[in-house]
């Protein structure tokens, strides 16, 4: 059996470009992606070093079960790997490409992609943010004086608040970037 390794890495919702680059670099270094488990444990298998482009698509329901989806990618030379939280992972060797190839060939479909991510992943986060994170952060501020447990909670919520804000801003910037490119 080929040698395997695990790496833990977190990419936020909109960092799919960084994730794609990360996977491509791993493959160049002789590690091909085999599996991904929550929250971000990447399982790689030793392989020949090769320049392989990795791409992510997003459909809320996940499309691995859709034979026609997998088949179309296969026909176009893309190997479908698996679905993870609605994201479908595919890859294609640069040697098999005609010029630069991506799974999206126009800006409209890239915007459609990020809109699907927005609806599927970001909208639930926005609900959490307004219904839990903000009220809890405010509540903990008013309890700050009382005891250390509340102080800890306050810090936890403040960190969550910051992470959420970071994700929202990153998403907004990415969306603007795509819109401007169109």
């Amino acid at each position: 059996m080929a040698k395997q390794k695990r790496e833990f890495k977190i990419f936020t919702i909109v960092e799919y470009e960084q994730e794609q680059e990360y996977l491509r670099t791993q493959h160049k270094n002789g590690w091909k992606l085999v599996h991904l488990t929550f929250p971000g444990i990447y399982l790689f298998e030793a392989c020949e070093s090769e320049d392989v482009v990795y791409q992510l698509d997003y459909h809320k329901e996940g499309l691995g079960s859709q034979d026609s989806y997998v088949q179309m990618f296969k026909d176009c030379g893309w190997e479908y790997l698996f679905d993870f939280m609605g994201y479908s992972y595919v890859r294609k060797s640069v040697a098999c490409m005609q010029g630069d190839e991506e799974i999206f060939c126009d800006e409209n479909s890239r915007i459609d992609f990020i809109t699907r991510v927005f609806k599927g992943r970001l909208v639930p986060l926005i609900f959490l943010f307004f219904l839990i994170i903000i009220p809890q952060t405010i509540l903990q501020v008013s309890n700050l004086q009382s005891d250390p447990a509340h102080r800890t909670l306050f810090v936890v919520y403040l960190i969550l608040f910051a992470i959420y804000l970071y994700i929202f801003i990153r998403f907004g910037l990415q969306y603007r970037k795509l819109k401007q490119r169109r």
Binding site: S68, I103, F104, S109
Partner: protein, 104 residues
């Protein structure tokens, strides 16, 4: 043709235009990719993500319809609404071309 269709498809993307153009005959996604490649001397290479997204969207909006599945490939064809949109787009492109020639 309602406001939504007009907003999204008039004018339409190059990908959308080629899909409708090809689907005047029954075809599956990958055969559209091949056909467009052939028609444009490999100038335009449609990608599977774009293709899948466009086909799903157009099917939802009633511009094309699913006919049957063959060897895991979904075959579609254009609807009367799709044909209406395609004709409108062809007229627009023809006008654009005429104007361009006149100005030159």
């Amino acid at each position: 043709m309602d406001a939504h269709i007009r907003k999204v498809y008039v004018p339409m993307t190059e990908t959308g235009f080629y899909i409708l153009l090809c689907l005047q005959q029954e075809m599956h996604g990958y055969s559209i990719v091949q056909k467009v490649k052939e028609l444009t001397d490999s100038e335009i290479l449609l990608s599977p993500g774009t293709m899948y997204g466009s086909l799903s969207k157009m099917e939802k909006d009633g511009l094309i319809c699913f006919v049957r599945e063959e060897e895991k490939r979904k075959i579609y064809k254009i609807t009367s609404l799709g044909l209406e949109v395609l004709n409108k787009e062809q007229e627009r492109i023809a006008r654009l071309y005429r104007t361009m020639k006149e100005v030159q």
